[in-house]
């Protein structure tokens, strides 16, 4: 993944599912609506056509031939006799001339050429629609007949207003939209509930992971569905092995320190004996001692740098600062018992450090050790938590650090004093830890005239 892409998170699963389901719902309901609408319209039209056909057969049944046309003694449907009733009958000859019209069609004014446009053989029926002045849209059926006595072809036409069927269709359509709308609402609610239910394990997982990040938990503990179990199992194993790896790394380095430093101690004591016995020229002895001291310095510094964790905050636990400080003060109090230092502390109980406890111990241990070492009679220690910022202030009443040395003392990897064992290393390691956690360290002169180290960590 490119760094740019990783900055912009991908769409959430919920968003994707909602969108996909929404589009699907619209497409499905739309398509189903169109199909249903068309089928209904066709069935309504078929019913109208069938009705008209029946009316034509009824006209045919009562039609009596006359010399010049037809006589219709009694019409079975009263609507043929009632003016503007919506049902009209016509008999047209082969030229399209009107031979008869029902009494209902008194006001009917239509263009019969529209009806007569297509040729029609006997016994066939054609359907169509035509618009009439005043009476609106009409649906017509035309049936071809042959009268032997007259040797002439006639077309029997029945017309019906399309308004009732149009109204029927409109009602159907409005019913359809109402039902589909209700269905869309119900399905959307169901989808929301299903999504919530289906996504719960993932939300649980996210919650569990952030609990691990914040150090409230060691492992993923939720009861997960079978699809997620391989993931959570692997994640748990990964977390465990990573923690073990860090622990092992530290142990290995400790062992390495032990196995390197013990021979150095042997060499060093051998040299001291040599010096006492004066069995080597002093110049050579000094060179050897210097080289030995350098080796020791290098090993100490590099090992202590390496022992500090690789500041992986993901698996970091919140370390209560007060507990670490109190342990260190008890230990240092023992070591520097003769100095009878007066230690003034102001430690916020809720102050926590997000990182490895060993890193915090190392950082505070080194700064406090320097304070005990260089302070004359008193040490001040303040631990504060201001919003997301952890602040450590360590004061001593020693000589302080000269202005020209300040920059260089706190430079990462730099050593203020390459001669005095311990001091430079301690501070350099402290600076390393602070910068590994993205914190800040500064040194000032305090009211006692000694050094004040201020360390700040911005924590999530």
């Amino acid at each position: 993944m490119s760094p740019l892409a990783s900055n912009r998170p991908a769409w959430s699963l919920q968003k994707r599912l909602v969108l996909a389901f929404g589009v699907l719902l619209i497409l499905f309901l739309g398509f189903a609506g169109i199909v249903l609408d068309r089928v209904y319209k066709e069935s309504v039209a078929a019913a109208v056509e069938e009705r008209l056909q029946l009316r034509i057969f009824a006209l045919l049944g009562v039609a009596e031939e006359e010399e010049t046309g037809f006589f219709m003694p009694e019409l079975d449907d009263a609507r043929f006799s009632q003016i503007d009733s919506g049902l009209y009958g016509l008999i047209l000859d082969s030229e399209g001339l009107e031979v008869w019209r029902s009494p209902s069609a008194l006001n009917l004014a239509i263009d019969t050429t529209v009806i007569m446009r297509d040729a029609l053989s006997t016994g066939e029926t054609l359907y169509g629609s035509v618009s009439a002045e005043d009476l609106g849209e009409l649906v017509w059926a035309r049936y071809g007949t042959y009268w032997e006595n007259q040797d002439r072809n006639y077309s029997f036409v029945a017309l019906e207003s399309s308004a009732p069927s149009a109204a029927q269709i409109r009602e159907f359509q409005s019913n359809l939209s109402l039902w589909f709308g209700a269905m869309a609402v119900v399905l959307s609610i169901a989808q929301y509930i299903l999504l919530r239910w289906g996504m719960r394990p993932l939300q649980l997982l996210a919650g569990d992971v952030s609990a691990i990040e914040s150090g409230d938990r060691d492992q993923l503990q939720g009861h997960y569905p079978s699809e997620l179990q391989p993931v959570t199992r692997n994640l748990n194993m990964l977390i465990k092995s990573e923690r073990e790896r860090q622990g092992r790394y530290r142990t290995t380095l400790g062992d390495l320190a032990h196995s390197l430093k013990t021979p150095l101690a042997v060499l060093s004591s051998a040299l001291q004996e040599t010096r006492r016995e004066a069995s080597l020229p002093p110049q050579q002895l000094r060179e050897m001692e210097e080289q030995l001291a350098r080796m020791d310095e290098i090993i100490s510094y590099q090992l202590r740098r390496a022992v500090k964790s690789n500041h992986s905050r993901v698996l970091a636990k919140p370390v209560p600062v007060a507990a670490v400080i109190h342990k260190l003060l008890a230990a240092l109090g023992k070591v520097y018992r003769d100095k009878a230092m007066q230690v003034e502390t102001s430690i916020a109980d809720d102050a926590v450090f997000y990182g490895e406890e060993s890193d915090l111990t190392e950082l505070c241990g080194n700064l406090l050790d320097n304070a005990f070492k260089y302070g004359r009679s008193r040490i001040g220690l303040t631990v504060k938590q201001e919003a997301r910022i952890l602040i450590l202030k360590i004061d001593d009443d020693g000589k302080g650090i000269d202005e020209q040395d300040k920059q260089w003392v706190l430079q990462r990897g730099a050593r203020a004093d390459t001669v005095t064992t311990g001091q430079g290393i301690g501070l350099a390691v402290a600076v390393d830890i602070v910068s590994a956690y993205g914190g800040e360290i500064e040194v000032r002169r305090n009211d006692w005239g000694g050094a004040r180290f201020i360390v700040r960590f911005e924590q999530a």
Binding site: G254, D255, A257, H258, S259, L260, K261, T262, P263, L264, A265, V266, L267, S268, S269, A270, Q272, E273, L292, D296, S300, L303, R304, V307, K327, L328, A330, A331, K334, V335, R337, D338, A340, E357, S358, T361, E362, C364, G365, N366, D369, G422, I425
Partner: protein, 226 residues
């Protein structure tokens, strides 16, 4: 002063034992934690030097066990792990100070001196009782402001008595803390040292610094100046 050194590296142990013996200490040594624990529980020591990386029983556990058995003598840790987590763990387990490897013998000697002094309740390097002052760093006795020369054995006897002021110290205890195990324990020799010390400390016989408690032993008895 009888010391216990627990260190698994043979060369280093041998050199430590030699250097400390040269400085007048009686030194027992053990090569692993188990042997160290046996010694610490079986004999009465004035101080112990314990390496943290030991076979059988590691240093931290050893120190914790020694303390849980009610042994209160000061313990100096030798550690190769120069990090605060380990140091704090060791001190928390019951050790009193630490020295990081490699070290100078002088450093060990100075730390031991301070530990022994502190264990006896003295906060300053010199043990002061009225006009008598014993500088444990320089190994120098001063009486009424004047330096008094002592032999190595005289110093050892006096230092032990002064570190246990007002307490009756038996001849056996003195012998155990001042001589090697194989040494011929002739109590007459001890009487000779005490007599010489009395003469050097109190030529006028006005102070009477060392009492003989018949059948029990000796007691350093000068009003405290600490």
């Amino acid at each position: 002063m009888r010391l216990l050194v627990v260190e698994d590296e043979d060369l280093l142990r041998a050199r430590l034992v030699k250097a400390l013996s040269d400085n007048g200490y009686i030194v027992d040594s053990a090569t692993d934690g188990k042997a160290g624990l046996f010694h610490a529980c079986e004999y009465d020591y004035d101080a112990a030097i314990i390496d943290l990386g030991l076979p059988e029983i590691d240093g931290i556990t050893l120190i914790r066990t020694i303390r849980s058995k009610g042994r209160t003598f000061p313990i100096l840790i030798l550690t190769a792990r120069d990090n605060w987590t380990d140091k704090v763990e060791g001190l928390d387990a019951g050790a009193d100070d630490y020295v990081v490897k490699p070290f100078q013998i002088e450093e060990i000697r100075a730390r031991l001196n301070a530990l022994l002094r502190r264990a006896a309740g003295f906060s300053k390097p010199a043990l002061e009782f009225g006009t008598v002052s014993l500088d444990t760093t320089a190994r120098q006795l001063r009486v009424a402001g004047a330096d008094v020369e002592l032999t190595a054995y005289e110093y050892k006897v006096l230092e032990y008595l002064m570190l246990h002021p007002g307490k009756v110290v038996s001849k056996t205890e003195l012998t155990e803390h001042l001589y090697d195990q194989d040494h011929d324990r002739d109590s007459n020799v001890l009487e000779v040292f005490i007599r010489r010390l009395r003469q050097k400390l109190d030529p006028d016989e006005t102070l009477k610094p060392i009492d003989t408690v018949r059948g029990l032993g000796y007691r350093f008895n000068v009003p405290s100046g600490k």
